[in-house]
Assembly symmetry: C2
Homo-oligomer: 185 residues x 2
């Protein structure tokens, strides 16, 4: 329905994206964030700089796009037998990933190259999808459960807010307390 | 106690900071964010570019610093006679300011030029101070009240998370609901 051509999975466009993202990741580790440039990333990826500019616009947008890819969960959340246990484990892992220096910088990158909020929205949607999976599982077990938006407000929002703005004293105990409070109401 | 010289209020350093921040604000309105450069801002402020680089390092840090200044509340929160009314009014105004395009971009700027989180921490501290004022007032009236960290988790965090990552459907009704839920527990 969209006017934009949809690239075939595995087609040239997908291969270029993968090559550029890999080049970015490698170079970031080798030369550090502040030395990254579009020509450097393009050369490593074996494409022309104009290919990168055409697809991403600038380095900041490329970093933002790559950050969202890295924040995408690669598997559904684990099943621990109850909603409380599932949410506790999920929140603990989410905190571990986002509070690490790399995770915090991915969250900032996702916000950064993205004035319209599309990339930030995708990050939030990844968390929402994981939570919906846990809530569907709870419904299947006949457990009472809050809705996904409430879990976002009561568990995800405080974790992300504190990772970004107020990181002192963030630990698994805190994450577990958020989950307990969210389920008690 | 610190080894760093503390600039006298109203001294040269304070005047330079004020001139640079004013220049930044004016130029942002006139030429737009993407056309800003350190030499342009310095010229308007009547200082040398090296003065700006020495004080702020780069444009992103300057933007981050200016954003924090703009997010600083200029008055204590209003007294509406009860904690519920005070927090409702405060949350509504906080949402109005941060959800506006300028407010959202200040939040992002505060995060952006600030890898160590000092500026982001100051933003959070501004909100925490306002909330502590409301809670002290409530204590003075003999009202039961949650602690400031709980209000940060239950009211501020969801507002900031949604402004940055999930802005659909954010309105005063939502802010009021967060306040009601925070006070009910």
């Amino acid at each position: 329905m969209s006017g934009r051509p949809v690239p075939r999975p595995g087609g040239r466009s997908a291969r270029v994206q993968e090559a550029v993202r890999t080049a970015l990741r490698e170079l970031e580790a080798e030369v550090g964030r502040s030395a990254l440039t579009v020509p450097l990333v393009a050369a490593r990826a074996g494409v022309t700089p104009s290919t990168v500019y055409r697809r991403w616009g600038d380095l900041q947008t490329l970093l933002s796009d790559a950050a969202v890819e890295r924040l995408r969960p690669d598997a559904p959340p684990e099943d621990h037998g109850s909603l409380a246990a599932d949410l506790r484990a999920w929140a603990e892992q989410f905190l571990e990933e986002t509070a690490a220096p790399a995770g915090r910088s991915y969250l900032r990158d996702a916000l950064l190259g993205d004035p319209e909020g599309g990339n930030a929205g995708r990050c939030s949607e990844y968390a929402a999808e994981q939570i919906r999976t846990l809530l569907d599982r709870a419904a299947g077990r006949g457990e009472a459960a809050p809705d996904a938006e409430t879990v976002l407000d009561r568990v995800v929002a405080p974790l992300v807010y504190r990772v970004l703005f107020r990181p002192d004293g963030l630990d698994a105990v805190y994450a577990h307390r958020l989950v307990r409070d969210a389920l008690e109401d």
